[in-house]
Symmetry: C2
Subunit: 426 residues, 2 copies
């Protein structure tokens, strides 16, 4: 028996911050990382370091929207079902070619969809409503209907003017952005570097994932979960394993990690009680502690500190609390470091799909499934959502935010939900 | 001048399929790929090849949910504010340890959160409501309140029973799944192989993304877009460049690609008109054509064929049409090949946020932005959504499905939307 039970009183009396205030404290240390050039085809999911301006108009020329003939609409004004107007075909413009001649009254050019409309022409007539004849070695196109100027031509700069803002700094790149950048010849993109996030767990009870189970022990599932979450957020996880409950070991591990990486996330060792080494480590140097209690469930013991300008986020060892702590505190920091403009989980309103009866004096973040019905969004709380429960994390699309002191919520109540990353099937 | 204008009539009279029927034809050829073992930490985004069954209960032992004392609730029934019941502390069980002795009446064990509850004990009492004393070299814990059996203990198997289904085959792996698999010691995961998708563009007008602009030409933006879309869908894109409009070249490229990869996607060369080499290539061998016209805008010329059991999907060269064609036909095939159970874009109902006036005799897939307001979903059509327009793809969250013959839709109308991949900010 050791003296662990003589827990000093201050361990039980931490000053609790509201979630918003705690978030404000951590994001102060989310400093923008350096930019780096990446090839366009490796830029998906990254955030632009600087705005992209159109280097030329797009389309870069007046473009035909049809297979047919480019001509002057005015030439067709006397057309009629029995009055064919014949125009001499003076050019043939496939895609990618440059028109050889300008169109003047009485002439037309055969043109393909996507090809450059020749000077002089002001309309493109679709092939299907034309007829042709050859005479004296010349080709003629015939029309029986007056045509309107401007039809089937996409004007130069219709999508983008030269110098127009295409994408602002902080914009996240996906397939549509790739198309726009490719069209403009942007083959390398300046994005912000991915933050390197050191991750380790504390707990003498922890086994590696590939170790056989041993009595009284559990496998370290939080580290792999955090690894996946960091990657999903665009960070580069650096896995530092699990350490036994030893203050000196934790101290040197934290220091090494803070020296080497952009941020450090730990899991375990922050609960009020025995062997709470991360809590002790941060309390020791109260000058750099940002908070060690947040008015939330799960994860009230979530702790954050700053050393050398770098953030140490000590999450609970309870899987549910670790997950929620990551989403509320680590995600915005990792996103902001990459220049994201919308670092927080999207916050929506939903209709509660089932009663929720738990009451708490802290705000509760309840794992839930979202479902769309007839244009409305319903949230179904997980059947079991204790902070220690891990198995329902995978089934959750959102966290329902249950305000403190709420005397239970009934089916049909409007609730705020924080959308978790991932596709809804609903 | 060549004879291209003598376009045979059958080019203008393709038999058009409904989208659902065309989808049904392509997914018939989405054959499940082989399974492969991947390390757990590389399994995110992959689909399980086989169900995962819990190899042991989880938790694997009765687990303490508190720092405190494990004891027999019945021992405390006579407690009172002035009647302290003292129990001898016979063990100290940190996390990861195995209890040394069973608890019998009159004894208790100091225990930590997450530690294994000893035999005999039926409740855990939180540290904060206990007191301690030492006497004759022994430690005692005192209580002033009767305790209930079963409190603060998570029973073995509470989350998962041994043999219980954890994840079914076809389940997509994300962070929550990683946690569950890690906890169960599943350190490698059997997933389906990523399909290799050959991608090339046709068009004499196409420049590479890093080439300077030339008069009349455009950069190949569809291939990089398709590359990003294939990757987003879990496929492995194989970039085969762009070829000029040459039937023989296209034929050999298609054949080589079908021999080497699981599916081939092309862009360009399918419009009704000149140089529509992909169309010609497929028409040549009408026996293996699945369709060459679909009753949809954009992308009505979308063409599909099968050779040697492998799918050739020839998408329009118009960026908007290429994008929609990918989402409706390529995405489900690539998803199904990986074993996905929900291969199609999620279909939701939304409220139209602005009038939409275009009328068509085909179903129109209109790029739109989604917004949540007070629990309801609103869809705002893109200002410009011509099939040739590329710049609004990046701003779209969904495709509004506008049925044929609709005489324009008014603000407030209920519409069906197909959710595009990516996070909504709303």
């Amino acid at each position: 028996m050791n003296s662990r039970q003589d827990t000093p009183d201050h361990k039980f009396h931490r000053k609790a911050l509201q979630v918003k205030e705690a978030q404000a404290r951590v994001i102060e240390y989310a400093k923008l990382l350096d930019g780096e050039e990446v090839p366009l085809n490796q830029s998906c999911g990254r955030f632009l370091a600087e705005p992209v301006i159109a280097p030329h108009p797009f389309p870069a020329f007046n473009r035909s929207g049809m297979d047919g003939y480019a001509l002057i609409a005015g030439d067709t004004k006397d057309c009629g079902q029995d009055r064919v107007v014949w125009l001499e075909v003076v050019d043939d413009i496939p895609c990618g070619a440059v028109p050889a001649v300008s169109i003047t009254s009485g002439t037309a050019a055969r043109i393909m969809t996507g090809a450059q409309v020749p000077e002089g022409a002001d309309t493109v007539v679709m092939l299907e409503i034309t007829e042709t004849r050859e005479e004296g070695g010349k080709s003629f196109v015939g029309l029986r209907k007056p045509q309107q100027a401007g039809r089937n031509i996409t004007q130069e700069g219709f999508e983008l003017k030269e110098g127009e803002l295409v994408l602002s700094a902080g914009w996240k790149i996906a397939a549509g952005e790739i198309a726009a950048l490719a069209a403009l010849g942007v083959h390398t993109v300046k994005v912000l570097r991915r933050p390197k996030i050191g991750i380790f767990a504390t707990g003498t009870e922890l086994l590696e994932v590939d170790e056989p189970l041993q009595p009284g022990k559990i496998r370290n599932s939080n580290s792999p979960m955090l690894e996946a979450l960091v990657r999903e957020t665009g960070g580069e996880p650096v896995m530092l394993g699990a350490i036994i409950d030893d203050l000196e070991l934790a101290r040197s591990k934290v220091q090494m990690a803070l020296d080497s990486y952009d941020m450090v996330i730990t899991t375990g060792g922050v609960s009020v009680g025995d062997y709470d080494i991360m809590g002790d480590l941060v309390r020791e140097n109260s000058g750099d502690m940002l908070f060690n209690k947040v008015t939330m469930r799960p994860g009230s013991v979530t702790t954050a500190a700053v050393r050398g300008g770098k953030l140490l986020l000590a999450l609970s060892g309870n899987p549910g609390a670790c997950f929620v702590g990551f989403q509320l505190f680590a995600r915005p920091v990792i996103s902001l470091m990459q220049g994201a403009t919308l670092p927080f989980l999207p916050e929506w309103t939903a209709v509660l799909g089932a009663d929720y009866s738990k009451v708490n004096n802290y705000t509760r973040y309840v794992r839930a499934r979202l479902e769309f019905r007839d244009g409305c969004l319903y949230a179904y709380p997980a059947a079991i959502d204790e902070s220690s429960v891990m198995v329902t994390i995978k089934d959750s699309d959102c966290l329902i935010v249950v305000p403190p002191e709420e005397r239970g919520l009934s089916t049909g109540a409007k609730v705020r939900v924080l959308k978790l990353p991932g596709e809804l099937q609903g």
